[in-house]
Symmetry: C2
DNA sequence: GTCTATATGGCGATAGAC
DNA sequence: GTCTATCGCCATATAGAC
């Protein structure tokens, strides 16, 4: 692996953990066993390195979902699989997820546009299409958003929810959450 | 207003904007027109100041919701009002909301317990009670969580959702979101 | 491409006068 | 309770040798 790629991979993990201003170039250099100057050879400054790292971590998420859209599942099965995969991606790639959370927190309009169009657009369209199939007379954007929002909340807020009354250990099992979210949405369509 | 309170109020705004390591004591001192040393007279160190600021911003949110629980609304009306108020609090007190987001991002187990028990417990119990009333045979914790998750997602992800296909201007109107979330949940109960 | 050495400045925190 | 002055450290970034 090239030094540049090694730097990027470490930067993803460390920026996700510590945030932009929380990670120093010294710490990053230590983590990749290079000098600070060597890093500055590959990237013009800290900000450019950060943006490159974000882009790099976003680059390989699509194929997981494309399998679902290309399958011969029924619409309901596709919804369940999509939500299940979304949960799995969020749980398995915590660094990607935390970087996303940080981006949302900053909410920089320019970067939001970049994220929406460069990363999420195609998957979101496919999800909206599925929602239209399942509930033709409802607002597809609202429903797609609701599906993602429900799944995301259970993952992001799990550390907090564990400390609130009524929590059960099954609430952290991906398949259980996926089934709950899917059922909630499908029930709502029937009414 | 005392210097201590002035410092705390400014700290809430600035920590919400810049995060813990993004805000320096010098910047905070400049904002409140005091010297750095004066701040250290009121707080032992930066971390203690941060925790005090978080606690301070959490202290006055309960009464908004207690009005609802004490009203003579029907259960369905209470659900709608709760979600509507949740949205309003998040939109009107951006600093509180951003501090919350940062806390969730850090996900420090000890602080999650503090937040859950010291801040959210009583409101969450009342919401679960309402859910039990509306859908007695379902998991109240899951439903309460779903309600909060749906509302939160629409607010937090609005800057991103605006850039995705199918977005309409009505999607940012609080009453519209509240109605959508309430309807989704109530429909799901009926099925 | 990577190093050592260093410039320059901001950081958290403290000492001591008023 | 607030100030000025300062300590010691670590930050980003650069210069120049190899």
């Amino acid at each position: 692996m090239s030094s540049k790629e090694k730097i990027l991979r470490a930067a993803i993990v460390l920026f996700a953990q510590k945030g932009y201003s929380g990670l120093s170039m010294r710490q990053l250099a230590l983590a990749v066993d290079l000098s600070v100057a060597a890093i500055y050879h590959h990237f013009p400054d800290k900000n450019a390195l950060y943006l490159d790292a974000v882009r790099f971590s976003f680059s390989d998420k699509e194929q997981v979902f494309d399998q679902i859209w290309n399958s011969d599942f029924t619409a309901k099965e596709k919804l369940h699989s999509f939500i299940r995969s979304l949960i799995d991606v969020m749980l398995n790639d915590r660094d990607f997820h935390r970087l996303m959370q940080r981006e949302i927190l900053e909410a920089d309009p320019e970067r939001m546009q970049l994220l929406a169009q460069g990363v999420f657009n195609s998957q979101f369209c496919l999800l909206m299409q599925l929602m239209t199939e399942l509930a033709p007379e409802q607002d597809a954007h609202l429903l797609a958003t609701s599906a993602i929002g429900l799944a995301k909340y259970y993952i992001e807020y799990q550390p907090l929810l564990k400390n609130l009354p009524g929590w059960k250990s099954e609430h952290e099992i991906p398949e259980f959450i996926a089934t709950h979210v899917t059922t909630l949405l499908l029930n709502s369509f029937q009414a």
